[in-house]
């Protein structure tokens, strides 16, 4: 009798866990299928026209802007993030007060909602520094937003580099700097790259931090000081106007494919090139 009851509860919990996983994946599958089925038929060539007009609602300018803002943000955030990680892993001594402070602030940064970044970017870059709504304001705001992500992945990748590498380099007479750039960084590169690609994903998907920093003009910005909207902002504008539902679906398809590609690439790099060191470090 008792045994039977036990068996029953085992079964019930099996159903519960498998069911939850199925629900999670089912939602994902439904979302993807829904967007693809409704969107793909509307992927017309006019959506990829060089100029945006209120007739073709082309997404190409937004696409170009997304690439520009991504590049600009990475240009700022990658060196800063990687250098911070080098400081944390290679230079700081144990118990260094600066390390605790840097860790605390990085964790704080990663918890701040994007709209607060947007608000800050608007207060600081757009109005105080008078950069106006511009690619530059948007890119700098986003670079602060992705900084903790790049820092953390670079730090983890550097930590996963076995100490024997470092000792070997020192043993051969290399200075610290040489060891860092010739031995530690190359060995950590796949992990760093995977983090950078994840950061690209965040930039591509960002909206709230950009509306009041980079602005919402549908154009290819003639200069970094001009306003332009990224694909996500474009998508928000289209769907909230409510006039171009078909084009909204099509734009959603492009965004979804872009993000899926970025995710797959990041996973692939982390797995294929990650080597054994990283896997061991992760466990």
């Amino acid at each position: 009798m008792k045994k039977q009851k036990q068996k029953l509860t085992e079964k019930a919990f099996a159903v519960l866990t498998w069911g939850a996983a199925a629900l999670t994946l089912g939602t994902l599958a439904f979302l993807i299928a829904f967007i693809l089925i409704r969107g793909i038929p509307h992927l017309k060539p006019s959506l990829f026209a060089w100029e945006y007009t209120s007739e073709n609602v082309s997404l190409l300018p937004a696409f170009v802007t997304t690439a520009e803002i991504t590049l600009l943000s990475l240009l700022i955030a990658v060196p800063l993030g990687v250098f911070s990680a080098i400081f944390l892993t290679e230079y700081a001594k144990r118990g260094n007060k600066a390390v605790a402070l840097v860790r605390l602030t990085a964790e704080t940064l990663s918890g701040i909602p994007s709209i607060v970044y947007g608000l800050f970017g608007w207060l600081f870059f757009v109005t105080s520094l008078k950069w106006g709504f511009s690619l530059l304001s948007g890119a700098v705001t986003l670079s602060i937003m992705i900084l903790p992500l790049i820092m953390r992945s670079a730090e983890e990748a550097l930590k996963a580099v076995p100490d024997t590498y470092r000792e070997g380099a020192f043993g051969l007479g290399a200075g610290k700097l040489r060891m860092v750039f010739r031995v530690a960084l190359p060995a950590a590169m796949p992990g760093i790259l995977a983090g950078v690609i994840l950061a690209v994903g965040r930039i591509v998907g960002e909206t709230a931090a950009l509306i009041y920093t980079a602005g919402t003009v549908a154009q290819i910005a003639p200069s970094p000081m001009a306003s332009a909207r990224t694909l996500s902002v474009h998508m928000y504008a289209l769907s909230s106007e409510g006039l171009f539902m078909n084009e909204s679906y099509a734009t959603a398809v492009v965004l979804l494919l872009l993000v899926a590609g970025i995710n797959a690439l990041s996973g692939f790099i982390a797995k294929r090139l990650g080597g054994k060191g990283e896997r061991q470090g992760g466990e």
Binding site: Q6, E10, V102, P113, I115, L177, A208, A260, G267
Partner: protein, 299 residues
């Protein structure tokens, strides 16, 4: 011959000195880069508080935080953000009620029940869920949820419940994996079944880590902006019920920042301050829980 070696020595000394200079310089560069994030947090705090607190003071702290009426363009205007605080809290609570259990159970599945072959597909799926932009979620919600639930707190909670899943799953899974295998094996040896061992032994052992995962999910939900705007209705009044619309703190900022001026603008920045304080509290409890979970897994 002698001359030559002298030259070589001087050369290597010179190189050494240059090397040491480069070392020192780059050491300073690394330190400064590390301090960039400290500077960023300081600047964000400075700008938000310097621009937000005076507005709060001018409106009156209690009038601002506990005022039930938000009508910034009326004469005289009213700047009470209690409706938005309530909206944020209700919608977030709903999201956690939906996303928390599903997320934890999925994490249990991934950490303890998932066959290896299946894992290779499920894990990237969860990662993709994290990567989908919030506007795409919002658009999906507009098209799928609104016909049934309307622009309401229910729609917003459902959508946010899905959006926090990857956060909860990822952290809860690693917390569960940090529990020593011996716990599970010990339970099995005592005659418990697989799921009994997992739910009565492994899950309780990982409880601080799992709780930390949920807390981070709360942070994600309360900070989410675009998806919520697209499905929540955004009426600036005290929430009436699940099927009625509500406005969150985040939505309040985005919707009105474009045209706000003077005190109205200050009140919106102050709304950002309130949101920021919420997030700081959530971050602190997250760190505390994570510290507790680290201690758990060490014992």
């Amino acid at each position: 011959m002698k001359n030559n070696s002298q030259f070589a020595m001087r050369d290597s000394q010179l190189k050494n000195r240059r090397g040491r200079f480069a070392e020192a310089l780059m050491g300073a560069v690394f330190l400064c880069s590390a301090l960039a994030s400290v500077a960023a947090v300081a600047l964000i705090c400075l700008f938000l508080f310097v621009r937000g607190l005076p507005a709060m003071a001018e409106i009156g702290l209690f009038r601002f935080l506990l005022g039930r009426e938000w009508s910034p363009t009326d004469i005289p205007p009213a700047f009470g953000i209690l409706p938005m605080i309530a909206g944020s809290l209700y919608i977030t609570a709903g999201a956690v009620v939906i996303g928390g259990p599903v997320g934890i159970l999925t994490a249990v599945f991934l950490a303890r029940s998932c066959p290896k072959r299946l894992y290779r597909f499920v894990k990237p799926g969860v990662d993709l869920l994290a990567g989908i932009p919030s506007v795409v979620y919002g658009f999906f919600g507009m098209m799928v949820l609104l016909p049934f639930a309307g622009s309401s707190m229910l729609s917003a909670s459902l959508l946010l419940g899905v959006m926090i899943l990857p956060t909860v799953i990822g952290l809860a899974e690693s917390a569960l994996r940090a529990v020593p295998e011996a716990y599970y094996e010990g339970a099995l040896a005592l005659g418990a079944g697989h799921y009994r061992s997992v739910f009565r032994v492994v899950l309780p052992a990982a409880k601080s880590g799992v709780l930390a995962a949920v807390v981070l999910g709360v942070g994600r939900a309360i900070g989410e902006t675009m998806a919520v705007i697209m499905v929540a209705g955004n009426q600036a009044r005290m929430p009436l019920g699940l099927l009625y619309g509500a406005r969150t703190l985040t939505a309040n900022i985005v919707l009105e920042m474009g045209y706000a001026a003077e005190l109205h603008r200050g009140a919106l920045i102050a709304t950002g301050v309130v949101l920021f304080v919420f997030i700081l509290i959530i971050n602190l409890s997250f760190s505390a829980l994570k510290g507790a979970s680290r201690r758990d897994s060490k014992n």
